[in-house]
Amino acid sequence: MTAHATPDDVKKLAALARLSVSEKDLPKLAAEFDSILAYIGQLDELALPKAEGPRVTDVVNSFRADGAPHEKGEFTKKIVDAFPQKEGNALSVKQIIVND
């Protein structure tokens, strides 16, 4: 199975990824996509042993002790300084629920 990407597919993916691709760039991106998919499509011919449940790795869970990792407010000013729009220490965003 080698997937084939149409300009319409690319447009849908862009919408999912919160990107906007101009109509004129769609065919070029779709063509590039096809060549990348053909390349990674080599995986089709790779026969893998039948998986018995999820792959077991040597990864273990890592926990830290409960408690405050740093002083309250230590980073607040620096983080607030980066906000594009703010009211005091609050981040301003567009209203998304409107009461008509």
Binding site: A17, V21, L29, S35, Y39, R55, S62, A82
Partner: protein, 478 residues
């Protein structure tokens, strides 16, 4: 010892550390030499995105510490830092318009450790946007030139960190490596570059690309310098839950005679004849020094790059979803909240970044996740098992770092040909194993003499074996 080099900036870490201690130079003189070389050459090479002003307090403190006779090796050594590693108060843009105005609010753990050792920071280096690329042509702020031939690329994505050290605009540097982004530029610029074991170095404060693949690592002019940087930045960190404590892996004895595994079948085609000849000559040299060679089989390796180009975009698209134009970075404002996201991301991300976000979105979409992502993840397991088996009969695995020397800017315009640059290096990221690129001579292309590298992989946690075999290649005594 008399300094025979033209400038203090040409010194290695070990040479500079010795001269600082014998009072043949001061920390200030060393800083000035590097800073002058950097500002003189940067217009041409574009290795740095920003050169920092001298931190007088840090320079004086380093000098005093060396005077006290109890200073770490890196004390007073000027370093270059890749632009995706956070230094508090400085911009960290990952060479993207998205983060062009983003000022780091904290130090990455590696920066904290380097500061504690007394190291100095010359500036932040250019890179492929969000570390996506193999040539540093995908920077939003212009390409980096290879110091050996300005028409050619220095490799990538850590091309700025490589070019800065190769052109003696820094003593050594840090980069990040997701699929070869330290080792491939090291090979293309005649440096030593290390991708540590996954979890060996904290990534707190590194801007994420592929979280199951990324590692921070050093570039050095020698194996000893690379080791000195690694020894300083490594270690478990409560700020990065993926770091591992020192007893996690079985550490093998880095003995005098090592067994070098070579996947002969993989090297039968696709490698330039003179690169292959240099590789064979380097292996012969290693044999003459008492190391032995075994032929190993890694059949799934031929699928490593397709596997990587499923997993990496999947993780990249996920990681980069955080850039929404709301809390920091580029913030376009339009009619609706959705438009704010879309406009910020469309304007902020460059072409390659958008391509990989779309590809990642595709391989994770419900209709294709089994065919691509789950298959790639399973293949990654098989590949790792093959490496584990190979390491039963050898201590290191060797091949050329890249099939060819540095290519010309603009030469690899279609994405797949660029991706093929990483064909040998990606496996170490997929398996989590440490890998080192060491210079193995030069080849000539169109009258340019270009460096090439030999690549060694070791079992997890065995960086010492890499340094040992690397020092055998360079003729260093560690």
């Amino acid at each position: 010892m008399t300094n025979l080099k033209n400038s203090l900036a040409e010194l290695t870490i070990t040479e500079a550390a010795r001269m600082l201690r014998t009072k043949e130079c001061t920390v200030r003189e060393l800083w000035d030499a590097c800073a002058a070389a950097a500002s003189a050459q940067n217009e041409k090479l574009n290795a740095y995105l920003e050169l920092f002003v001298a931190d007088d307090a840090a320079i004086d403190a380093a000098q005093a510490r060396i005077g006290s006779g109890d200073a770490p090796l890196l004390c007073g050594i000027p370093l270059a830092i890749k632009d995706n590693i956070l230094i508090e108060g400085h911009i960290a843009s990952a060479a993207s318009k998205m983060l062009e105005n983003y000022k780091a609010t904290y130090d990455a753990t590696v920066i904290t450790k380097l500061r504690a050792a007394g190291a100095l920071f010359l500036g932040r280096t250019n890179m492929d946007e969000f570390a996506m690329g193999s040539s540093t042509e995908h920077s939003a702020f212009g390409r980096v030139k290879n110091p050996y031939d300005h028409a050619r690329v220095p490799g990538g994505s850590s091309g700025g960190s490589a070019a800065a050290v190769a052109a003696h605009m820094a003593i050594a540097s840090l980069g990040t490596d997701t699929g070869g982004s330290i080792r491939q530029p090291a090979a293309h610029t005649g440096l030593v570059g290390l991708k540590p074991t996954y979890g060996a170095v904290s990534r707190s404060g590194a801007i994420a690309l592929g979280s199951s693949l990324d590692q921070i690592g050093p570039f050095g002019k020698s194996v000893a310098d690379t080791k000195a940087l690694f020894d300083t930045i490594k270690g478990a960190d409560t700020l990065d839950a993926t770091t591992t404590p020192p007893d996690t892996y079985i550490v093998r004895d880095a003995k005098k005679s090592l067994r070098i595994g070579i996947p002969m079948r993989l090297l039968e085609e696709g490698i330039d004849a003179d690169v292959r000849a240099a590789f064979d000559a380097t292996i012969e040299k290693l044999k003459s020094e008492g190391h032995t060679v075994v032929d190993i089989s890694l059949p799934t390796s031929k699928y490593a790059l397709p596997v990587y180009y499923v997993i990496m975009p999947a993780e990249a698209s996920t990681n980069l979803s955080r850039y929404d134009g709301i809390r920091y970075g580029l913030a376009e404002r339009s009619a609706t909240l959705l438009d704010d996201y879309i406009d910020s991301r469309t304007k902020g991300f460059g072409a390659e970044t958008q391509r990989r976000i779309l590809l990642g979105t595709f391989v994770l979409s419900s209709g294709y996740i089994d065919a691509y992502y789950r298959k790639a993840d399973a293949a990654r397991g098989v590949l790792t098992a093959e490496y584990d088996t190979a390491f039963e009969s050898c201590d290191v695995i060797a091949f050329p770092t890249t099939p060819s020397p540095a290519f010309k800017a603009g030469e690899k315009s279609d994405p797949v040909s660029m991706y093929l640059e990483d064909v040998f290096t990606v496996t170490a990221n997929l398996t989590g194993m440490p890998a080192l690129s060491v210079p193995m001579g030069t080849v000539v292309r169109e009258e340019s003499t270009l460096p090439i590298g030999i690549h060694f992989t070791a079992p997890k946690g065995n960086e010492e074996i890499l340094f040992k075999i690397g020092a055998s290649v360079t003729g260093e005594q560690l």
